[in-house]
Amino acid sequence: MANATANDDEAIFKAVQDAVERHGNSREELIPILNDVNHEIGYIPAKAMHEINRLLKTPESHLYSVATFYRMLSTKPRGRHVIQFCESAPCHVVGGREVWETLQEHLELAENETSPDGKWTLITTSCLGVCGVGPVIVIDDDIFGNVTPDQVPDILSRYS
């Protein structure tokens, strides 16, 4: 869950500065920096990109080309809670399809969509490596395993 709000310029600058201080201001550290900023704010706002460009002296085109390549980084705002569903074969084979359909129905969202009230973003993720307890849902940093369709409303109701 994002710790700062994207509308708070000061918070954005601080997130970037902390990340650059932690890792160093060279281009090689770009991915760790982007990871930190994404984790802190929930995504990477344009203002953050400007600031990274200023501090790393790296063209924004390069910054965006990297940020848009990796699945876990987002340049678009995300909901307060990000739901990641594992859509890989091992989870699929043990009933993942039914859980996925229930999720979409219950939230009234399709993949990559954010709910109008800004609460949920639903995305698929590739294999998380916990295939022994598939099907798996991750909400923010919480992992739920052995999920069945009827558990979905209960799991979702735990988040405000």
Binding site: R71, H92, V94, S126
Partner: protein
């Protein structure tokens, strides 16, 4: 070294964490301070103890070896008082577990030989002393007393092949990097285990990180590298954390850093996280990612051994390859080569997933047959259903049907069968699986993960996916299968990297062994396994229906009509084939055609 009279090992397995394990740890420490016991009792984190779904959050208390399970915050004050002040076990919280009650790594099944997995679940990965007690870093000590060429020779004699999938002899790779011109040299560990269904590397990194670190230091010594990186995917946050703890502890003991063990050899290591891109498991894409760029593969030659990270000679190996090295040093190459087949020596970890009775991690010597893996180690197909196919090697692998189950598992045999070893994921499919659906599924994954750099992969996989989608929706056309055959061949030949070259493999193998299933989908517009939504119909049998209205009330789209006590009817135009009616019917009156 501080001396504690008691240790509490709290499981921080992901599921336990989601149940509040970290809060428990904080509370334990608070209570111990409050009771003046903090210098006598030490709280530590450990990996999985008992099945978290049954026991979590749980902990082990030593030296008694008591297992406390389902511990809640409110239990802590009483627990500390009873157990540590009064010396009485709290029976109400105690839970017996069998020696190895681990959902993904149970006690060894018949025919298993645990080398890489030997310490997992048995030692505390966040305590280097546990690893040292298991002859940890003795392999490194031995290596440092030999010359790099002598060490490479030993690894060469063992026959160790890269465990990432390609199976290239590890010692040969090290030789090439050692001989290459350029300074400084780098050593990297590929911990970007992205194959769906593969989680062996994850477990080793979380439960026995030092085996990998030790292997890397030995490798670095051989090639002459002073810096190393472990590239670990971001989807494995616990592995990243555990690795960092392990690296710090190794540094503190002088096993990493300047002048290791007074040998004159200096080496240090860092963890780099990915950001969610399967293609970064490809070695040149991984290097690009460490350099801070898009994870796009590069042309080879030049190979990383000549021009790798920042253009310098670099050696990349998989987690499991490194994890084998210390044992080879300690027990000797002859021991390692005594296991396996003529060309594939040693053991391999596999992650069994799918419709088996016993899924999870196993480690077996090469040469075991697939049938033994499925039935002896895997316990056979769940729910008594029939075996249809086993997919080996992940999304770049191929599926193997029943007729070929007696094949031996080694690099050459699997390749000849149209599959690959890959990193070790094996997905078992029962007879209710639709192969068209699975083909579509694998292609969906590789299409999504294609980096986009070269046309054969970027465009070719999309075209294949379009055709497979059409077929599973009932719009297959005459000539589709021939087009697929041709597309697959071209993409295999012309793609830049292993992802593209391997992406058509599942399709090729499915067309070879299950072609008739595809033809039925196209010609008869029917799905024999009753999986493809557009090709199945739900009907209510008037013979069995009692008109209880349960199905109608549960249908999410109101597709069922009928009067009480009269046979009900499903409107096929509204029905979305979710299957809920079949699940709730108590009279088995819902038929799928």
């Amino acid at each position: 070294m501080a001396f504690y009279r008691s240790h509490i090992l709290v499981s921080v397995d992901p599921e336990c964490v989601s149940k509040g394990a970290h809060d428990i740890i904080d509370q334990l420490n608070d209570e111990l301070i409050h009771r003046g016991l903090i210098d006598e009792v030490q709280v530590l984190e450990t990996s999985r103890i008992g099945d978290p779904t049954l026991y979590g959050p749980d902990m082990m208390v030593y030296p008694e070896g008591v297992h406390y399970a389902r511990v809640k915050s409110k239990d802590i004050p009483f627990l500390v008082e009873e157990h540590f002040l009064k010396g009485r076990v709290v029976e109400s919280l105690r839970a017996e577990i069998k020696a190895f009650s681990d959902e993904e790594l149970g006690a060894p099944m018949p025919k298993e030989v645990r080398v890489v997995l030997r310490n997992c679940g048995k030692i505390d990965p966040t305590n280097i002393e546990d690893y040292l007690a298991e002859d940890g870093y003795m392999g490194l000590a031995k290596a440092l007393s030999m010359t790099p060429d002598e060490v490479i020779d030993m690894v060469m004699k063992s026959g160790l092949r890269g465990r990432g999938g390609a199976g290239f002899p590890a010692a040969k790779k090290w030789q090439l990097a050692r001989a290459a011109q350029g300074e400084p040299k780098y050593i990297l560990c590929n911990a970007d285990e992205g194959d769906p269904g593969a989680f062996m590397n994850r477990r080793v990194l979380e439960s026995d990180p030092h085996s990998v670190i030790e292997g890397m230091i030995i490798g670095a010594y051989c090639i002459g590298a002073e810096r190393g990186y472990v590239y670990c995917r971001a989807e494995y946050p616990i592995a990243v954390r555990t690795l960092n703890i392990a690296i710090n502890q190794a540094r503190e003991l002088g096993l990493l850093g300047y002048n290791i063990m007074n040998s004159g050899f200096s080496f240090d290591l860092e963890v780099r996280q990915g950001a969610g891109a399967f293609v970064c498991g490809e070695e040149t894409a991984l290097i690009a990612s460490v350099e801070g760029a898009r994870g796009e593969p590069r042309n080879r030659p030049p190979f990383p051994a000549q021009k790798g990270l920042w253009g310098k000679p670099s050696n990349i190996n998989n987690v499991e390859t490194y994890a084998n090295v210390p044992q080879i040093m300690l027990k000797g190459p002859e021991w390692f080569a005594s296991m396996g087949t003529e060309k594939s020596k040693g053991t391999k970890t596999f992650a069994l997933a799918g419709d088996l009775n016993h899924t999870g991690l196993i480690e077996v010597p090469f040469g075991i047959t697939l049938r033994e893996i499925v039935y002896d180690v895997g316990g056979g197909i769940k729910d008594g259903k029939g075996f249809k196919a086993i997919q080996t090697g992940g999304p770049m692998g191929g599926c193997i049907p029943e007729s070929m189950l007696d094949l031996q598992v080694d690099y050459e045999t699997l390749a000849a069968a149209g599959s690959i070893m890959g990193s070790g994921g094996m997905i078992v499919m029962d007879d209710e699986t639709c192969m068209v659906d699975m083909a579509r599924f694998f292609m969906d994954f590789t299409q999504d993960e294609s980096c986009g750099k070269c046309i054969p992969c970027r465009v070719g996989t999309r075209r294949i996916l379009e055709i497979l989608n059409r077929i599973s929706e009932g719009n297959g056309r005459e000539g589709d299968l021939e087009t697929l055959d041709q597309l697959c061949k071209e993409i295999q030949q012309d793609s830049l990297c292993g992802l593209g070259k391997g992406a058509p493999n599942p399709i090729v193998s499915m067309l070879k062994h299950f072609r008739d299933e595809f033809e039925i989908h196209i010609k008869e517009k029917r799905c024999p396994a009753k999986v493809c939504r557009s090709l199945i119909h739900y009907e209510i049998s008037s013979e069995f229906c009692t008109g209880c209205t349960v199905c109608a009330r549960n249908c999410p789209v109101n597709a069922i009509t009928g009067e009480r006590r009269q046979a009900h009817h499903i409107d096929p135009d509204i029905c979305i084939r979710c299957g809920i009616c079949a699940q709730v019917c108590n009279f088995n009156a819902v038929i799928v055609n």
